[in-house]
């Protein structure tokens, strides 16, 4: 800004300043108060003591004595109880499996969408988005019907004898019983999160300059080589975005494991839910949440970095 203060300059500063401050401040404050703030509260409550229906204050003043009571029992419990550890591992395991499956199914899908005739692409995009707009809860519920004994998909799988294969892989508990198994859980999660993988991949692949592939062919590369050496590396940003959009929320998924999962597919979202709603143990639930946040901090940072880079590059 100019060194010499003038009335005209002053007016400009006021014009710009007030607008700018408001625009940034409103959403910023909202997020600070309602998004970031709560995490600190969760941290605080995880070390508080539970009392009847609600939690005790950390700092109490009675009879001239200031007491700070921090109860780390919950964290101790989590660290020592094998059930919690197993559940966290399960969550990462199933989230990872879902991500890989989504990538395996979704990448070719996005690829062929991006290579389709340009007049057809908007229609394809709409068809992919349409299920996303209809309630995911209802669609997951529908899978119950499809996978229970007698359901369409169950009939097909059993009829083809594939259930024996799934049984031998340990993905289902008994031949013919497809529901409430790791199989049904991962299937349900893959189904729900597939659009989250397809969309960033499609958006990335559609923007790719096809002339690069022409140049590669001109230099002697087969389509297969060109795909692995050019297309895939260039779509790295899309792969990362899609993977993070699937992996991170899957870890804490609650609804799908609840409707499609079984006793041996216990995930951390369910644990948190039970601690809060069934046991009414708020500190416990908070500690579970804190550990979950720590679990996803690294993937979250990766996702954040990708988002920032993507918006800067435009």
């Amino acid at each position: 800004m100019s060194n010499a203060p003038m009335t005209g300059l002053h007016r400009l500063v006021v014009d710009a300043f007030s607008g700018r401050v408001l625009v940034i401040a409103a959403p910023f404050l909202f997020l600070l108060v309602f998004f970031l703030g709560p995490f600190f509260i969760v941290g605080k409550i995880s070390v508080s003591e539970m009392e009847a229906v609600t939690f005790k204050d950390l700092v109490t003043w009675s009879e001239g004595v200031l007491t700070l009571s921090l109860k780390f029992g919950t964290y101790q419990f989590i660290a020592q109880d094998p059930l919690y550890w197993q559940t966290y591992v399960n969550s990462v395991k199933y989230a990872g499996a879902t991500t890989l499956l989504c990538l395996f199914i979704g990448y070719p899908f996005a690829y062929f969408m991006a290579r389709a005739k340009s007049s057809v692409q908007p229609a394809l995009l709409m068809l992919v988005m349409l299920p996303f707009w209809t309630s995911f809860l209802l669609r997951v519920y529908s899978w119950r019907g499809l996978l229970t004994e007698g359901g369409w998909v169950a009939e097909v799988i059993v009829g083809l004898g594939l259930d024996q294969l799934l049984y031998s892989l340990g993905l289902i508990t008994a031949p013919g019983k497809l529901m409430h198994t790791p199989f049904s859980l991962v299937l349900g999660m893959t189904y729900t999160y597939l659009p989250f993988m397809i969309l960033p991949l499609y958006s990335n692949l559609a923007k790719m300059d096809l002339r690069l592939l022409e140049a590669a062919a001109d230099l002697g590369a087969t389509p297969w080589t060109a795909f692995w050496k050019i297309t895939v590396p260039l779509s790295k940003a899309g792969i990362i975005a899609g993977s993070m959009l699937v992996f991170i929320p899957c870890i804490g998924e609650f609804v799908i494991p609840e409707l499609l999962g079984g006793p041996e597919t216990l995930m951390i979202g369910r644990v948190l839910w039970d601690e809060f709603f069934s046991n009414n143990d708020w500190p416990m639930a908070s500690s579970v949440a804190v550990v979950m946040i720590l679990l996803i901090i690294v993937p979250l940072a990766i996702f954040n970095k990708y988002q920032a880079e993507a918006s800067d590059k435009r």
């Binding site: 899908f109 997951v140 991170i248 988002q307």
Partner: protein
């Protein structure tokens, strides 16, 4: 070339299989909503009784009404906050705390809802203990949905805003428009479509949300997804199929209609351009 045609058919096959996978549950939902059987799994016969029951289903209908109200409020609030956030991120490249801001805006997109729901609830309870309000209910659910909706709205609006030619706004200022006039007369008309997209998107998300609503609702404020969820947990329930079909039809009609209208406007514009150049 044989390789190219194999590629093409493989591609079409994969896309077709993918779409079958995506739409199978939806189709099944609809078909079994007409199934004359308490267990909507095996076909017994055609009936409309589940729809008749739906009309009398107080629990579901009041849940629907609440969800619609919250969704409406969420959509409006998300668009406002999301547009502000998008502006902040696109127009002002450098300000204190930008990285933090950017992180906070996009985090709800991926953060597991149980974590967001729990933390927000605990904070609201703390506030309630200190100040006496807010009670858990419509307002608290709305706050949670706003958090999520704002993240999505920001993504949508930011994408459009970034593509905007900055010289347009400069031209407006050069011609005498003050900053707020620039926004209303030039920027807003140009991002209008993305605002509508963001509105519809956040409306849908709010209508569909289970976990946040579960944590943040209070007695007497049960949203429709919560009603569906509690019934679905217990087992297969044909009333769910019925409401599902209604929702799917409404949404499908809406999306197809919107796509058609957009395509038609686009085609008309092309025609106008073609006739203009010939003139």
């Amino acid at each position: 070339m044989k390789a190219a045609s194999f590629n093409r058919w493989f591609g079409r096959g994969w896309l077709a299989a993918g779409f079958v996978f995506l739409y199978l549950p939806i189709v099944a939902l609809i078909i079994f909503s007409f199934n004359d059987s308490p267990i909507p799994n095996v076909w017994r016969g055609f009936t409309l009784k589940w729809y008749e029951a739906l009309i009398r289903d107080q629990e579901m209908l009041s849940g629907l009404w609440l969800s619609l109200q919250i969704a409406l409020l969420t959509a409006c609030g998300s668009v406002v906050l999301g547009t502000l956030a998008a502006f902040a991120l696109v127009k002002y490249k450098r300000f204190k705390g930008r990285t933090l801001f950017s992180g906070m805006v996009s985090a709800p997109l991926v953060m597991p809802e149980v974590v967001v729901g729990l933390s927000l609830l605990l904070m609201l309870v703390s506030v309630q203990r200190a100040l006496g309000f807010p009670e858990r209910g419509l307002f608290t659910i709305w706050l949670g949905h706003l958090l999520l909706g704002m993240a999505y709205a920001t993504v949508v609006v930011q994408a459009r805003l970034q593509d905007l030619n900055p010289q347009l706004e400069e031209a407006a200022m050069d011609l005498g428009a003050k900053p707020h006039q620039v926004f209303w007369l030039v920027t807003l008309p140009m991002i209008g479509q993305s605002l509508i997209s963001a509105w519809l998107l956040t409306f849908t998300l709010s209508l569909d949300d289970v976990v946040l609503s579960a944590f943040l609702s209070g007695p007497g404020s049960t949203t429709m997804p919560l009603v569906i969820f509690s019934r679905a947990r217990l087992g297969l329930n044909p009333s769910v199929n019925a409401i599902a079909t209604v929702i799917v039809i409404v949404v499908a009609v809406g999306v197809v209609l919107a796509s058609y209208l957009i395509a038609r406007a686009e085609r008309r514009r092309q025609q106008e351009m073609a006739s203009a150049t010939r003139a």
